[in-house]
Assembly symmetry: C2
Homo-oligomer: 218 residues x 2
């Protein structure tokens, strides 16, 4: 169990943001109730799956009407911890780091990026989306005490391991890892790897299968 925080309902948790998005839209449209059926149709899921997923937030629906929209929004955000601020830093102020810094959606859900770090001297002193860029060398001295919870790791892969060490030394406990390296971290450090290669793999295989079935059909 070393290093592994067990999370029950992984797949359910991953679907919640999509639900939240739809429910928020309904809220903006003035709806007060939304049914699991409607959400399911929107996302091409089974209604029973939506109901099961929403159950983990503790919200209770009304037969015939569905779930109370306002309560549901609050409950999902609470469940995800998106109702409070998470101070974060971007480590690697390249295009990807810059893109993530600018995502309004994350800001709306508590992600507060207060600084970025990079090795490129020409970037230091600049800002990306209003976020100041500091020298990566200063990370370990600057970050402790600022209450930074999350480090978003977007450095090139060869620097992932060493940069990760700096992040840990700086006392940041959670790492959102966008590199294709599996990080080795001490116990108590949470890592979520966003593996873009695995997405490309899925897309590639789906394409291959479709192509094959076309060949078979024709």
């Amino acid at each position: 169990m070393t290093n592994k925080t067990k999370v029950s309902f992984g797949p359910s948790i991953r679907r919640l943001p999509s639900y939240l998005h739809i429910i928020r839209n309904a809220q903006s449209g003035g709806e007060t109730f939304i049914s699991g059926t409607v959400i399911a149709t929107e996302l091409t899921l089974e209604p029973i799956q939506v109901r099961k997923d929403l159950a983990i937030t503790g919200i209770i629906g009304k037969p015939k009407k569905g779930y109370p929209v306002d309560e549901l929004v609050v409950a999902i955000e609470r469940y995800l911890g998106w109702n409070r601020e998470h101070k974060a830093i971007v480590v690697g102020a390249g295009n990807l780091g810059s893109a993530l810094s600018g995502y309004q959606e994350f800001k709306n859900h508590g992600l507060n990026i207060i600084a970025a770090f990079d090795t490129d001297p020409s970037k230091v002193g600049q800002t990306i989306h209003g976020v100041p860029i500091y020298s990566l060398e200063t990370l370990e001295t600057q970050v402790p005490g600022l209450g930074v919870e999350i480090a978003i790791l977007t450095v090139p892969s060869p620097f992932a391991a060493s940069t990760c060490e700096s992040i840990v030394k700086a006392g940041v406990k959670s790492i959102w890892n966008f590199t294709n390296i599996k990080l080795k971290v001490p116990e108590g450090i949470t890592v979520w790897r966003e593996d873009l290669s695995s997405g490309y793999a899925m897309l590639s295989v789906m394409m291959k299968i479709k192509h094959k079935s076309e060949l078979e059909t024709n």
Copy 2:
């Protein structure tokens, strides 16, 4: 079944790129065989899972020695369709699109981004990582006939649906969707959604759980 290409072994396919990365490293290091146990240790997985996953590529290992590195690399790339070129376009030449255009790893695995499209007139005519940027308006006329297989969708969410329609009209059959919108596409179009929000959700919940257990412990 409408719109849904069924892919068996989803989780296995998503792990293959990580295996490939490690096996390639072993290859560079001059190794000729690599065992499932070694790969598993590297990635904190069970050896049996690695063996099961590698089995789908058709490669047969040698007891005591492991799997032949060169053959394994070829077999994984073949299985993923990464042994051939996939022409692609980036739709939405912002930071994220720019980041993806520059990823050497994808280039090495057949992803050939031949053009980017954007609405911003100041971007049109420029290049990102050597990829020329054209006006989004010209997508439907320019792209057909070029043999583009993949559209990487990185426009802001409000434009996702309409841009998706253009992509489909242009005859591109696979979409790598980086927006937080569930796209509605005609049958025969493959979509893989890269859902960054779900990653943020997982990280957030893992943080919450860890925090709670710390409170309980102290």
